[in-house]
């Protein structure tokens, strides 16, 4: 068991780099990105109560940055790619049959150019 753990965890850490460069290298469409955000992200990350992602980030950042992703000015392609492809806490990773690399690039374009 220990051997398996030692292989997988470094692997997962390394994944962020090639994926991040893939997303950053792709030019996305921010208008499409808004549509993808509404479909895939807003159920958790929209403003107001009933949105677990916003609730969680409110506690995490305590006002130092906005809890709503669409209000953030500091999001990067690497951070967004890592969140979508590796998940965070209760947020699972999203497969490419859900959010394709092209759609992820659109999302990045939308959330990093606001």
């Amino acid at each position: 068991m220990k051997a398996r753990k030692s292989i997988i965890k470094p692997l997962m850490l390394l994944l962020a780099l090639p994926l991040a460069s893939t997303a950053a290298d792709t030019h996305g469409d921010s208008t499409q990105g808004k549509a993808h955000f509404n479909y895939w992200c807003a159920p958790c990350h929209a403003a107001g109560p009933g949105h677990p992602g916003t609730q969680s980030l409110t506690v995490k950042y305590r006002g130092s940055v906005p809890a709503e992703l669409e209000q953030r000015k500091d999001l990067t392609a690497a951070l967004l790619t890592s969140a979508v492809r590796q998940g965070i806490l209760s947020m699972p990773p999203f497969r490419k049959t859900e959010v394709s690399d092209a759609q992820l690039a659109d999302l990045i374009a939308y959330l990093t150019t606001r």
């Binding site: 692997l11 009933g50 677990p52 609730q55 995490k60 699972p92 497969r95």
Partner: protein, 506 residues
């Protein structure tokens, strides 16, 4: 990329070539990065040798592509694991039960084929989520409701097949119960339609679930007998109004007459909403609180609530608090204050209990549930509550493992589910303690006749083992059926404890 167990490198390569021919190169995933996306984010074995991992994934877009993939896999005995939206979190997510399986990812099959308002049914593909079906109904201005479970991103088909339930009115809360007709691809690639779907010219596939002859739909519930590619569901015509009340009783054993009356009212169809039973806390609190919702025409449900109130007020000291009637469609004001899933509107708000809160700023992230079925009586509830209280410390090894329970789920009309929740993190030591506790609960509860209705993938063998009447006769029968209709055992090996012959022998 790992090889599926027992499959040669050459055979696996040939199968992948056939998969690519069937669905296109873009939709066969073999890189480590892509395969990692199929890991179960809430795996109790995360990062350990027992974690269930895929060898590859293939994502068809049509039933013909599903048939081609299944035939190619069957020819080379490559194990497949179908998923729908892959969001069966806490029950295995998008990871296979049998490590090394190729995940058959049906998310791209996301067509709402029909929603019939006049006959109140829908026919959908596996990749259709509750959000998708709700959006379709809203965009087409149809006057029917869906019955959402907690996770709105879940598959309508997948949730029903796994035994899931929702939050509106009976009978629609039991998602498998209200399905009507399936299309299934079998292990040899043959395609079957059940019920009236077997009659080529019938226009009643979603209107009569039985058809003619032995009914086989149950074989595909919590199962590995085939790949369900279409499924029909009965929908609820939008109710005119919603009326709820809270019933409070002040002695612990008042839960006994409380449940007797509740059962009577539900079995008479006077109460049709998703009720809730909660203990009170504090010196002046009620011993038990019962939430009591009814859906229907405003004047009718007002009379039904009058009838229910009179029944409950026969309990000494009962307090009956009636809430304001809510009409549908919801006003913006009402929409902002109600629990949306009770009004047929899917969301993800329940995941808030897993994220950071002021009370839990560093949460584990994931969870699993131990969900035994217990008798739907006050005596049954009290016995289970005391059983949990009396065993909790010992089962947890004297530690606080963050286990929460019991929560008594009244979704099903004729039984109770007594839920115990376990946190799942990415920490192997903590997860090991949770696994040990979970298995102890399975054993202890089974000794009292309490067995789970549904289980996380890694515990499905444990629970199946507990259904042991007559030397596991039911399990042996299922294995005979599995061997007959999937003789190479390629579909979902091990799902819900049913293993194909070659893996049983191994």
């Amino acid at each position: 990329m790992a090889l599926p167990p027992g499959v040669s490198e050459a055979d696996f390569a040939a199968a992948l070539t056939d998969f690519r021919a069937a669905v296109g190169d873009e939709w066969v995933f073999t890189s480590d990065e892509d395969i990692a996306l199929y890991r179960d984010a809430y795996s109790p074995y995360w990062g350990e040798g027992e974690e269930r991992l895929a060898s590859a994934a293939v994502a068809p877009a049509t039933v013909e592509q599903v048939q081609a993939v299944v035939r190619a896999a069957n020819a080379r005995r490559v194990p497949l694991y179908p998923i729908s939206t892959g969001r069966n979190l806490a029950y295995g997510g998008s990871a296979p039960v049998y490590s090394g399986s190729v995940v058959l990812d049906l998310k791209r099959m996301n067509r709402v084929i029909e929603v019939n308002e006049r006959s109140a049914y829908a026919l959908v593909e596996p990749g259709v989520s509750y959000f998708d079906l709700y959006n379709y109904i809203t965009e087409h201005n149809l006057d029917v409701w869906i019955d959402p479970p907690d996770p709105g991103w879940g598959s309508v088909i997948g949730n029903a097949l796994d035994g899931g339930g929702g939050w509106t009115a009976a009978p629609f809360r039991d998602h498998f119960l209200v399905h009507c007709g399936m299309e299934v691809v079998l292990g040899d690639g043959d395609i079957v339609r059940t019920g009236m779907g077997a009659a080529p010219h019938a226009q009643t596939w979603q209107q009569n679930r039985w058809g003619y002859g032995p009914w086989v739909d149950g074989l595909f519930r919590q199962s590995n007998m085939g790949v369900v590619t279409k499924m029909g569901f009965w929908l609820m015509p939008r109710p005119e109004a919603f009326l709820s009340a809270t019933v409070q009783v002040f002695n612990d054993r008042d839960i006994i007459p409380l449940f007797d009356i509740l059962n009577l009212l539900e079995n008479q169809h006077v109460i049709n909403g998703s009720t809730g039973v909660f203990p009170g806390f504090g010196p002046n609190a009620a011993a038990w609180n019962l939430q009591l919702p009814i859906y229907g025409p405003a004047n009718v449900i007002t009379a039904q609530m009058d009838y229910a109130q009179a029944k409950f007020e026969t309990i000494d000291g009962c307090r009956f608090i009636r809430n304001e009637l809510i009409r549908t469609p919801l006003s913006a004001e009402d929409r902002a204050r109600v629990r949306l899933v009770n009004f047929g509107i899917p969301d993800l708000s329940t995941f808030g209990m897993l994220g950071r809160t002021e009370q839990s700023p560093n949460p584990a992230g994931g969870h699993i549930g131990f969900s035994p079925i217990i008798p739907r009586t006050g005596e049954g509830l009290l016995e289970y509550r005391d059983f949990f209280r009396d065993n909790a410390a010992e089962v947890s090894g004297g530690e606080n493992l963050g286990i929460i329970g019991p929560v008594f789920m009244t979704n099903w009309e004729r039984s109770l589910v007594a839920l115990i929740m376990f946190p799942i993190s990415k920490d192997a030591t903590a997860n090991g303690k949770i696994r040990a506790a979970f298995r102890k609960w399975v054993t202890l509860a089974a000794e009292r006749g309490w067995h789970e209705y549904r289980a996380p993938a890694v515990f499905q063998n444990d629970v199946a083992e507990s259904y042991s009447f007559n030397d596991h006769a039911l399990q042996r029968m299922r294995e005979k059926i599995k061997d007959a209709i999937d003789p190479n055992g390629i579909i979902s090996a091990g799902r819900y404890g049913v293993w194909p012959k070659h893996l049983r022998d191994a």
